[in-house]
């Protein structure tokens, strides 16, 4: 049945109706509006007809000066600057949910963000230091609707599963065997590649390498959202998911191309939940296939080698390009056309005790085409351990340590070595290496609603370039939920 639904979703174009990271669950004892209403007998939090939540997060990062053999060589312009820099994001989000009919739910999530990235978000390929940063963000706050979608649940039997009231989740009880259809505007990460241990990045790891696979170029606009649909089949401990989402009109830009029959990003995920030594865990296998208007690195190189006038600095103003000034480099602007990108990945999570868990992600993408929506990596691996503070009498505190590494393909490296740029990296030259980050943090909870976080990151080979770095970044975060 899941395959039938998946097939139907594959074939049918979805209607063009339109932090990329989903929020984590609220603790029952959290101080928030819905719990407050419930305590005054004004709301049924177990069987909700509506709910409303909110969050505000301020993140400030300081990057220390680092050594670099060169920066923005020959007019390429995607280097992380070696000077000291400060970056910040402020986000404010409201989460509204309403039950429309039996099994039918609607969600609307307006959001405001203000930000300043390090080096205008240039120079880090798979381990951007703050997951909240958006490609079009500015210091002038932007108000937008991040999510606006419908979800329909069809119960098919099995045992009851309690869904707690949370942002983008009405409190209800569903069957362990069910089909869930979602359509509208949301982020692919609301449905796919969830990880209970890594959880909500607004309370966990700050580096984007731990939010999802660095090399998964899932379709999204420049903020991380897109329109499309997904079908999920839950069958006790198993889950099968399929989704089709719309890519951006041009790589890494805000407008999306809603023509889902022509350009699209398909994702297929199989999940199995298990209990190992009395503790829960999960295994997820993810495959994706994108058919989007992008440039192939090999095509760009061949075009430049055949005609040197077709270089990065000569991109016509009428053609989408990144604005590189390097006359000796190839550029993707000359060769964009519908291309296919594929990748496969694994996502593991396992609790060792009730309060300590570990996760592991790894993905291999073909690496033949440019980044269209997420970041520049072609392969990735990440591993992390998180611990809640119950053992030291602070149950709402969270501490974590993790390591993430990402790589690029040999043809991607050749393109960058010739001075080419993509959406995020391109120093003008390259000595290829894995971009690797370690991220260590502690989140201190106040009043069950506010988290103060101190975070340290050490990044080797920024931009996949062994001639630059390493980079040290310290970050402070204030996060509140209500």
């Amino acid at each position: 049945m899941g395959l039938v639904l998946a097939g139907a979703a594959w074939m049918a174009p979805f209607p063009a109706w339109a932090q990329a990271s989903p929020p984590g669950p609220h603790a029952d004892a959290a101080f928030d509006l819905m719990n407050l209403l419930t305590q005054h007998d004004l709301h049924d939090i177990r069987s909700e007809s509506w709910n409303a939540y909110g969050q505000v997060t301020y993140i400030s990062s300081w990057k220390f000066p680092f050594s670099a053999a060169y920066t923005n060589l020959d007019g390429s312009m995607r280097s992380l600057k070696p000077d000291a820099e400060q970056s910040f994001t402020v986000s404010f989000t409201l989460f509204f949910g309403a039950r429309l009919w039996h099994g039918g739910e609607a969600y609307f999530v307006p959001e405001v963000i203000s930000e300043r990235g390090l080096s205008n978000l240039n120079g880090l390929g798979g381990s951007i230091q703050n997951f909240e940063l958006q490609k079009t963000g500015t210091e002038v706050p932007s108000l937008y609707r991040s999510r606006f979608y419908l979800r329909q649940n069809f119960d098919l039997g099995g045992s009851p599963v309690v869904k707690e009231s949370d942002p983008m989740q009405l409190g209800t009880t569903v069957d362990s065997r069910r089909v869930v259809l979602t359509a509208g505007t949301f982020t692919t990460l609301d449905i796919f590649d969830r990880n209970n241990v890594a959880g909500d990045p607004r309370k966990g790891f700050l580096n984007m390498a731990f939010m999802t696979h660095s090399s998964w170029d899932f379709a999204a606009d420049a903020r991380g959202y897109s329109l499309g649909g997904a079908a999920e089949l839950y069958w006790d401990d198993w889950a099968l998911r399929f989704g089709r989402m719309a890519p951006p009109l041009h790589p890494n830009t805000l407008p999306i191309d809603p023509n889902l029959s022509q350009v699209y990003a398909d994702s297929l995920e199989l999940e199995h939940d298990h209990v190992l030594f009395g503790q829960p865990g999960a295994v997820r296998l993810l495959g994706y296939r994108n058919h989007e208007v992008t440039g192939r690195f090999a095509d760009a190189i061949a075009t430049f080698q055949a005609d040197a006038t077709k270089n990065a600095a000569a991109c016509p103003v009428t053609v989408y390009n990144y604005g590189s000034g390097n006359v000796t480099a190839p550029d993707l602007c000359w060769v964009r056309k519908p291309n296919t990108k594929v990748g496969v990945g694994v996502n593991l999570e396992q609790y060792a005790t009730k309060d300590i868990g570990a996760f592991f992600r790894a993905m291999y993408s073909d690496g033949q085409t440019e980044v269209d929506a997420f970041n520049s990596a072609d392969r990735d691996m990440s591993f992390g351990v998180l611990a809640k503070g119950a053992p030291w009498k602070r149950p709402f505190d969270v501490a974590g340590a993790g390591i993430g590494a990402s790589w690029i393909s040999s043809i991607h490296a050749q393109y960058l070595a010739m001075g080419g740029v993509d959406g995020f990296v391109g120093d003008g030259r390259l000595r290829q290496a894995a971009e690797t980050v370690i991220d260590v943090f502690y989140s201190f909870n106040l009043l069950k609603a506010i988290w103060l976080t101190a975070d340290y990151q050490h990044i080797w080979n920024p931009g996949f370039n062994a001639d630059r770095g390493p980079v040290d970044i310290v970050t402070g975060r204030v996060h509140a939920e209500f």
């Binding site: 209403l37 307006p110 108000l143």
Partner: protein
């Protein structure tokens, strides 16, 4: 001799001064000026759960209730600029489609709500009329080498609206009810006036509301002030500052279904606004809307309200379309089953 020299020097100095004045004096306003955009839509929607599209039934009651509503509308030719003799005209905004998502909490006689206006499509034609050049909306480039033009963002929220309505006199079904309403429009900082979706400033409204039910007949109306800091006078077809708001609506309420579980309300809404600086002059708009709605009548549990309105502008001022269609769907719970907690 000496006086002649002095006169000569004085003449030279005056001539130099005159020449300098000619060179440095700014040219007269014969060059074309570029008109800027503004929040064009003048159908100022009532709060979610208010019943009518513009007026308010003022029937809030019971314990804590809630409303979630989606309104979508299309307006044709809401901004058509004409020369005074009518020889030239330009549909600067010929098509405007907007959606509004709103959420309200009701308690006793109060309604607190939050709404988000989202442009779906705003398009038109640029050109010159007289000394003014008008730029069509959606004419921004979708991308630049350094990023995208935020004004072409598909996920835009134009203005956010925070409102509070209260019934001051009368019960929820009294023949005469009097209420007050305050709304604050906060503009999205990333929105630009060029898209005709926002004024780029904070706006506010204060309204005196009245409504009532006599038998199966219901009526509602308002008079108020729209505090609008934007004053682009004398640019043709542009806001001229704060406005007086007025409007009435009336229609029968017909029971539907078993024991009147649903009700149909049909009737006209007539509403308008006029700028104080040209009272009932060039910045006055009046619009009529024939609206109908079907709504659940139960006091407890989730109820549905579906609304449809079709209307036309009664004059040709800015924001008043040639014709308009608007639909709304609301899910609401009047909160009647819940205990009313009084301090």
């Amino acid at each position: 001799m000496r006086s002649s020299r002095v006169r000569t020097r004085l003449t030279v100095a005056l001539a130099a001064l005159a020449a300098a004045a000619v060179v440095t004096w700014p040219p007269r306003a014969c060059a074309q000026q570029t008109a800027q955009g503004f929040a064009l839509d003048r159908l100022y929607r009532s709060g979610p759960g208010a019943g009518w599209f513009v007026m308010d039934t003022l029937d809030m009651h019971g314990g804590l209730g809630g409303v979630m509503g989606l309104t979508a509308g299309y307006a044709h030719d809401p901004l058509r600029i004409r020369t005074t003799d009518g020889s030239q005209q330009l549909a600067v905004v010929s098509d405007e489609a907007m959606a509004d998502v709103g959420f309200a909490a009701t308690y006793d006689r109060y309604r607190l709500y939050l709404g988000f206006e989202m442009p779906l499509d705003v398009s038109g034609q640029g050109g010159a009329i007289g000394n003014y050049r008008f730029t069509a909306p959606n004419s921004g480039q979708p991308f630049t080498p350094s990023g995208v033009n935020p004004s072409t963002a598909p996920d835009t929220i134009a203005d956010a609206r925070l409102g509070l309505d209260a019934r001051i006199l009368g019960g929820p079904r009294s023949p005469f009810r009097l209420g007050a309403s305050a709304q604050l429009y906060v503009t999205s900082p990333n929105e630009t006036r060029a898209e005709y979706e926002t004024d780029g400033t904070v706006r506010a409204m204060g309204r005196l509301l009245f409504a009532g039910n006599v038998g199966m007949f219901g009526y509602a109306g308002h008079v108020g002030v729209h505090v609008r800091p934007l004053d682009d006078a004398p640019t043709p077809g542009s806001p001229q500052g704060s406005e007086l708001l007025f409007g009435v609506a009336a229609g029968p309420r017909l029971p539907l279904g078993k024991e009147g579980a649903m009700a149909l309300v049909v009737g006209p809404e007539l509403f308008g606004e006029t700028a104080f600086r040209s009272f009932f002059g060039s910045a006055t708009g009046v619009e009529g809307l024939l609206s109908g709605r079907v709504e659940g009548t139960a006091d407890d549990g989730a109820q549905l309200r579906v609304k449809l309105g079709i209307g036309a502008g009664l004059d040709a001022r800015f924001g008043v379309p040639e014709w308009r269609a608007i639909v709304g769907i609301e899910l609401f719970d009047r909160g009647g089953r819940k205990a009313l907690i009084r301090p």
